[in-house]
Amino acid sequence: MSGKIDPMHQFAIEPLFGTDHLALGGFNIAFTNSALYMVAAAVVLWIFVIGGSKRELVPGRWQAAVEYFTTFISSLLLANVGEGGKKYIPYVFSLFMFILLANFLGMLPLGVVGLHPFTFTSHFTATGVLAILSFSIVLIVGFWKHGFHFFSLFIPHGTPLPMIPVIFPIELISFMVRPFSLGLRLFVAMTAGHVLLKVLAGFVINSSNAGVGYGLTVGTASFILMIGISALEMLVAVIQAYVFALLTSVYINDAENLH
């Protein structure tokens, strides 16, 4: 009989290179497979942007690709925040590209050469840090620019005076939920996609092991489904990075311009 295939095993964090007990100030900072993919995403992004930093008047393909992304982020911020959004281009660009590369690198079919791909954006410890970073920027900028007037964000325009005690807590709660929804959305989307792919891969393996008939019917159908879902996951990888960047810029707009 076939062995048990655990679709959740792909999310397991394992320390690498014997750094299990590496610690900083009493906290474990082991260099894990997750950290490896974070480094990989950072390095790939670094190389990608270096290749686009030739600063030629007539760009080559690589430079045009990098400039496409920076222009995309700057127009995103310009549309959502306005002229004041330009100073957030470095942050939102880093955020978008880092998440995008993390999503893509985690989907590389490295399993066929015996490696274990890992998507660190499927961990809320990672997405949560990014969400809290975005939320902190909103809070810091909001209070820095508007002081206590920032609280007027929680009172929509034209709210009748007697409604304010009711509206204010609702708006405050919906504001406070933002970092959680931001972080959880990415984590859930990536986890769900990868689980689905792994479950279908398990079907292919288990049905093939159960017999040629099962393999040709269930296995082939599952495999075709996997191809389609892999394409869908590519789309999800882009969309989730975009949603994270978009929501961050929408929240920054609240901090920059209030309402």
């Binding site: 999310f11 964090i13 992004l45 281009i89 880092f98 660190f120």
Partner: protein, 164 residues
Amino acid sequence: MPQIAQIAETYSSQIFWLLLTFGFVFFVVGRGMVPKIQATVEARDSKIAADLAAAKASFAGADELEEEWRAKENAARADAQAVLAEAKAKAAKVTEGQLHEADAVISAKVAAAEASVEAARSGALTQVEAVAADAAAEMVLRIAGTSVSPQAAIEAAKAALAHG
């Protein structure tokens, strides 16, 4: 679910490495390189805008030059036409004068010729009269045997000639 099952032993490592890698991305790539790329894009955009404006200006300049040239050409054409008309008028006048002169010369010649013809004719007539008078006087002498005075003969001949 390892995300939850492992959280206690991995959260610090996850946060540490994420902050480290994302910090690198933000400070080196985002703050260090993206503004340069943005500047390149903006420089290109402004260069394209400037080039387009320059092209538009030269286009307008060319239009203006063409208009100027057209006006000049029209003026030159009008000038040429005026010169041509003047020359035509002058030539016509000259021709007319020459014709007039020739006409006068010819009519003078004709008049002279007519006068000489008239003179010749009247000369001839006088001679005819003299001859007729002579002949009449001779005829009278032979037939009547009387002589008439030449004056009377001439008178008679004149009268006969006048009657045709």
